[in-house]
Symmetry: C2
Subunit: 338 residues, 2 copies
């Protein structure tokens, strides 16, 4: 590999001058600058990013930790975050924790502050203490898509009003006339989808109705779990006319289960999700959902992380995205007359 000193030798200048030209620092005459750039070109020299990062006391990438890259939402978020990172001249490393805190800790220990000088955390199931330790070691951490705008976490975050999203979904079903609604919550009872479910309950309360707890299932956030839970719930409660799902994946599973039972969405049963992943648009019927602002959340996350890196600000900051919005598609309709 070509070195800085080989470039310097060919250009007839010192290594410091080559470095100044490449980093656009210091005073270098125009002719010298051109001679250096010619030598760089001729020798195919590339400034050594890691060396430069070490010299400057910073590492060159940003890391995004996700709980499961197999969840199709995360690549969509990663794509948006990667675009935003590239727009700021940074590369994004995507780390997949597979929902395992030990793997997550290994990534934090190995990557934060060495390969990456900042970390975005997306539902990576990591104890807050591990994250704070990472921050203390000098690598800022941003929680992406924090679920509770009214309860800022102890770390900088981008918050999405998921409770509002749940309320919008619930209101939509109730306004269509649904009274017998089953709920799929894609996390444990106090897990990351609790706020969405709380929003749904808000909508029920607003309408003067009470959701019967036995019509709620706490399940993994997957198509398969949504499928199984819907099968089981419709056998137990055949009178249900609508399914509220706290995420698009279980909602898509619910639609498959309903189809496989020989019923029709939305004629027999309406289904609504939250997020608006690509497959919400592409399923048949297309899924009615409450869209969260994924792209802007990703951009805001990158911007906040870079601000923390550059300013070394350590105070927790929370920024809130635009409010989620209903996207009406083909999976919801008024309930059948009996």
């Amino acid at each position: 590999m070509t070195t800085l000193s080989e470039v310097a030798r060919l250009a007839g200048v010192t290594s410091a001058t080559v470095s100044n030209v490449l980093r656009q620092r210091g005073k270098v005459g125009e002719q010298t600058r051109l001679r250096v750039l010619e030598a760089v070109e001729q020798l195919g020299y590339r400034p050594h990013l890691t060396a430069r990062a070490l010299a400057e006391g910073r590492a060159p990438t940003l890391a995004l930790m996700v709980s499961s890259i197999a969840n199709p939402f995360y690549p969509e978020f990663a794509l948006a975050a990667e675009r935003a990172a590239r727009a700021h001249g940074r590369f994004l490393i995507v780390c997949n924790t597979n929902d395992d805190p030990a793997t997550g800790r290994a990534y934090l220990d190995q990557i934060a502050g060495t390969l990456s000088d900042g970390v975005l955390i997306m539902n990576a199931n990591l104890p807050m203490d591990d994250l704070k330790k990472t921050e203390k070691r000098g690598a800022p951490v941003v929680l992406c898509m924090w679920e509770k705008p009214d309860a800022p976490p102890e770390l900088p975050s981008i918050a999405v009003d998921f409770r509002a999203a749940g309320a919008i979904a619930g209101r939509h079903l109730i306004e269509l006339g649904h009274r017998d609604i089953g709920a799929l919550v894609g996390s444990k009872k106090n897990g990351i989808h609790a706020e969405r479910y709380r929003g749904y309950l808000d909508a029920c309360a607003e309408a003067g109705r009470k959701h019967a707890q036995e019509r709620t299932r706490y399940i993994p956030d997957t198509v398969a779990a949504g499928y199984d839970a819907t099968m089981a719930m419709l056998k137990e409660f055949p009178q249900l006319t609508a399914i509220f799902a706290s995420n698009d994946l279980p909602a898509l599973g619910a639609m498959n289960a309903i189809a496989d039972m020989g019923l029709n969405v939305p004629r027999d049963i309406s289904v609504i999700g939250i997020t608006d992943i690509q497959w919400a648009r592409l399923s048949r019927p297309a899924l009615t959902t409450v869209a969260v602002p994924t792209d802007s959340a990703a951009e805001m996350s990158i911007e906040l992380l870079l601000a923390l890196i550059n300013r070394s600000s350590k105070s927790p900051v929370m920024r809130v995205t635009a409010t989620p919005e209903l996207v009406r598609r083909a999976s919801t309709a008024p309930p059948k007359k009996r």
Copy 2:
């Protein structure tokens, strides 16, 4: 951030000894070793990966370049590659070229040999010359899922017999009794899906049939393009009873178009794809497809790349995965009697 010499000071040894303990090299007495590890623990010291990589003349990550992370196949491949990389103690950087050779070149220039010491290329639409230049600069390159096992490329590669996959898909439709078949090819005429289409034509020829060229559409490899092309083709050739798609995404688009035209898959029209992405299983009807061995291709790619990095072998090597296999689901059936 804690430094090596702080650890050395606390443990009462030299920095070289700390380094030996952490790298499990050299002779270090058990008691000294424990004292060093205690100091490491106490100070929260992490070996500086980039510094170590520089010292050892190697960079610490592997890079995977994909043409579009929005294509759901790539996260599936990235997941498998990331697991294989982690199993070898490496981190994987995913770079998204957005099908743009200039972006791809920027990634190669910035990453290869600095942040990463090897690059996996997945359909990243990059000129072979750029890749060879990267290799010449010392960063091995492996082409993942090369389409032509009988024509090895000039760079190391993992090949998949995509022509066989196309033939398997074609044979399945013909054996079901289909004679009026439309073909969706998810690339330009001589693009990356040409081999799959050639395999489909092989199956037609074996059966003594000729596919009429006007029943083939060369389209982008997306659900939307498959949708539009199917709409157009079924209007032009209403007698079609089956669609061969060179990839699952256009096949899923074809199924949506058929549903939106008020027709039934597979009763009116059968649809088959190639790859077996997650959504092939999850669509309704579930998509019949020819599964390519994604996970093992990813593992083989990582292993070949590491072998090239470690041995500095420069001769092109091609390894071929297991042959693709038919996965019969609900989207194919014999044609209706007329």
